[in-house]
């Protein structure tokens, strides 16, 4: 058994906004943040408000964009997130690519979170992961952070 280090890693990551902080604050990416019910909001704006710890999400996003500058565009990131999310075999209605974005946009909070959570877990299972400053993150969650950084 070990005693804790001088400062909590969890807290350090949150306060310092270090990489992974937002993920830690949102256990399992449960997306506790308020998801806009407003159907008029764009999918992009809905996705960028998912995070409980916005500052940490932005930092992860910036790190991701430095690593993958070719994805430094909201449209590219959105397309990738939607394409991956629509690949999730599920009981939801997101599995028809041409209209995936529309359906994601029209989805309720719970359904949107459910799809993203399952996509993120599936990313890990399929090892669609990125390594950012040592953190092993799902490609989807990293892209969501990148969207936040570009917002």
């Amino acid at each position: 058994m070990r005693s804790a280090s001088a400062m909590s890693r969890r807290k350090f990551l949150l306060l310092g906004g270090g990489i992974g902080g937002s993920l830690l604050a949102t256990p399992g990416l449960t997306w506790l943040g308020s998801i806009w019910q407003d159907q008029e909001k764009t999918l992009h704006s809905r996705l960028t408000t998912l995070f409980h710890h916005q500052q940490s999400a932005r930092m992860i996003g910036r790190t991701y964009l430095q690593r993958y500058p070719q994805e430094g565009n909201i449209q590219v990131l959105l397309e990738k997130v939607v394409a991956e999310a629509s690949g999730i075999p599920s009981d939801s209605s997101f599995n028809t690519p041409p209209s995936s974005a529309d359906r994601l946009r029209r989805a309720g909070d719970r359904e949107l979170m459910d799809v993203l959570q399952r996509r993120i877990r599936q990313d890990f299972v399929e090892e669609k992961v990125v390594k950012l400053q040592g953190w092993i993150l799902s490609a989807t969650e990293a892209r969501l952070c990148a969207l936040r950084a570009l917002a």
Binding site: M1, R2, S3, A4, S5, A6, M7, S8, R9, R10, K11, L13, I19, G20, L23, L24, P27, G28, I120, R121, Q122, D123, F124, V125, E127, V129, K131, Q133, G134, W135, I136, L137, S138
Partner: protein, 572 residues
């Protein structure tokens, strides 16, 4: 019978059937197996019954490779050898550890695990391991802590059994038997200087022995067994160079090569989704039946094959939220130490030194709460200001208050029982099977010890496969933990071929007289006999061709028992 070799007359020659060099785990196991048999057995132990500085000095050597423990600390010259500081961890090797794996150069034992299995069971008894069960399912099912529910079947839990502290020291466990067996003679302070062979160099005729007092004598035997240690065994072979200039058994330059350890390093962090995630299973603890066990996360054999990496084992150590440090610290407090001392003494029906101080500490601790209770109340009632303080505190502060109110023993007992304070993160320590590497080796250095013998030089070296295996193990941990929603993993180990200075081994010295059916690739054959030498054998982890990630003691004891059986048959 124990004999102080310093009293043996100068230049005397002793006659025996079997001469064992070294009285550590392997040497004592051999002696135990030969006890009561119709053969005379002599054991030459370099040290005495306890550690002494002069004998220890003979173990000094030079580390010229990766930073390693001082060689006189990593080994012990006295009865019981390194079992005197053994951690008691036991687990058999896995099936895959014995296989020839194309992606692991120089891998493959000339034995299969099934051939060693009956000896593992006997070794378990010799080592005082309580249960014959090794499957993780068995242990997890009987533990109060769950295994982490990883997403797929890439990771599995492995369980070590831990021999209780009081039962680990072979010197204590077998001393009576060694003393009383009519056919055993243990010579203390008897240092082998070299082995002599007959003219054709194929048979060892006698062992030359020296004492630090200057006395020298010889031992003639039908069979000789080197059971020094993973560094001592190759050193003694290299020193036996009168007829074999390169050393005994070294015709193919194999002696001393392939030195292996279990490289061990803090490599990352697992930050759990749920701070209450239990990793109690992965800490050393007593299970519901009172057995000492410790779990590890390891890659499945299928994944090792698929990934083409070495065996990887990950230890998970909880790091608690600093707010709860008061309770964690209670475990190390003087009052809890006093309670432990008293309990230990009572269990062995003894009265500890400083009994009164320990008792006072415990009683004061257990009555701490009375300082915060309403005086003369008919029932224990906390003072109103205390209730108010606790009420107003945030949850973490409340825990600290509880420690203040109830002393150290109550929170320590809670901590020991439930291991369940909120975690800040889980520290991941990775321990790998080191790849056999001919450039990682023990040689003779130019410096000489008090007996005039060359001291050893250790050049511990790792390969890129070692590093890749560590990193890949962590990546898979990260994927499995993320996929199961357990948490996220951060790798703190760099991905290049360099190693941090903090890298250490597990005090396991292996591989330097490796086993192989082919004399060009090994020093001993499947029976632990030196190739081309008719009556010289090696016991200990120096014969391991690969190291697995399991602690070596149980396996080396199994091999020693197997060797004893072989020699009993041969001498019958």
């Amino acid at each position: 019978m124990f004999v102080d070799a310093r009293r043996i007359p100068e230049n005397q020659t002793l006659e025996t059937d079997i001469c064992i060099i070294g009285a550590g785990a392997a040497g004592i196991t051999l002696a135990h197996e030969f006890a009561g048999q119709a053969m005379r057995v002599s054991v030459l132990e370099s040290g005495g019954l306890d550690v002494d500085a002069d004998s220890r000095d003979l173990n000094i050597g030079q580390n010229i490779g990766r930073p390693y423990f001082p060689l006189d600390v990593a080994r012990m010259r006295c009865l019981g050898g390194t079992t005197n500081h053994w951690g008691g961890l036991c687990r058999p090797f896995e099936d895959i550890d014995f296989e020839t794996r194309p992606w692991v150069p120089h891998s493959g034992w000339p034995l299969r695990k099934a051939e060693l299995q009956p000896y593992y069971e006997r070794a378990r008894v010799v080592c005082n391991v309580r249960s014959a069960e090794w499957s993780a399912d068995y242990w997890v099912g009987r533990d109060r802590f769950p295994a982490l529910p990883f997403a797929g079947n890439r990771l599995k839990t492995r369980m070590n059994q831990i021999v209780p502290t009081a039962e680990r020291r072979f010197a204590l466990n077998f001393r009576k038997e060694l003393e009383q067996a009519a056919n055993l003679t243990i010579y203390l302070y008897a240092n082998l200087t070299d082995l002599e062979t007959n003219e054709n160099g194929r048979t060892v005729t006698e062992a030359n022995v020296a004492c630090l007092t200057g006395a020298r004598f010889k031992v003639r035997a039908k069979q000789f067994i080197l059971a020094a240690d993973g560094i001592g065994n190759p050193r003694l072979l290299l020193l036996s160079n009168r007829r074999h200039p390169a050393g005994l058994g070294n015709q193919h330059d194999q002696v001393g090569r392939y030195f292996m350890e279990h490289p061990r390093l803090v490599t990352g962090n697992l930050v759990p989704t749920n701070p209450r995630t239990s990793v109690g299973l992965y800490s050393e603890h007593r299970n519901l039946r009172g057995d000492m066990i410790e779990g590890h996360v390891a890659l499945s054999a299928e994944d090792l094959r698929k990934e083409q990496i070495l065996d990887v084992q990950m230890d998970l150590d909880p790091v608690y939220d600093p707010a709860y440090l008061a309770c964690v610290d209670a475990l190390e407090s003087e009052n809890v130490t006093s309670l432990r001392t008293l309990l230990r003494a009572f269990r062995s029906r003894a009265i500890p030194d400083d009994f009164q101080r320990h008792l006072t500490n415990v009683l004061n601790d257990l009555t701490t709460w009375t300082n915060h209770a309403v005086t003369a109340a008919p029932i224990p009632l906390p003072k109103p200001e205390v209730i108010s303080q606790v009420w107003q505190a945030d949850p973490a502060e409340r825990v600290a208050f509880l420690c203040e109110l109830f002393g150290d023993i109550a929170p320590a007992a809670y901590m020991e029982t439930f291991k369940s304070f909120p975690l800040d993160h889980i520290e991941v320590t990775t321990r790998i099977e080191q790849a056999p590497n001919p450039d990682s080796r023990v040689t003779l250095g130019p410096e000489r010890d008090r007996l005039g013998l060359n001291r050893v030089r250790l050049n511990w070296q790792l390969t890129s496969l070692d590093k890749r295996s560590m990193i890949r193990g962590l990546e898979i941990l990260g994927a499995e933990a993320g996929g199961a929603g357990i948490g996220r993993v951060q790798i703190t180990l760099s991905e290049d071929d360099t190693w941090p200075e903090t890298l250490r081994g597990g005090w396991h010295l292996m591989g330097t007289t490796r086993m192989s059916d082919d004399p060009r690739n090994g020093v001993v054959d499947r029976n632990c006999q030196l190739h081309n030498i008719s009556n010289l054998f090696v016991a200990g982890s120096s014969v391991f061709p690969t190291a697995g990630s399991a602690p070596p003691t149980l396996t080396l004891v199994s091999l020693a028992i197997r060797l004893a059986d072989y020699l009993k048959d041969r001498l019958r």
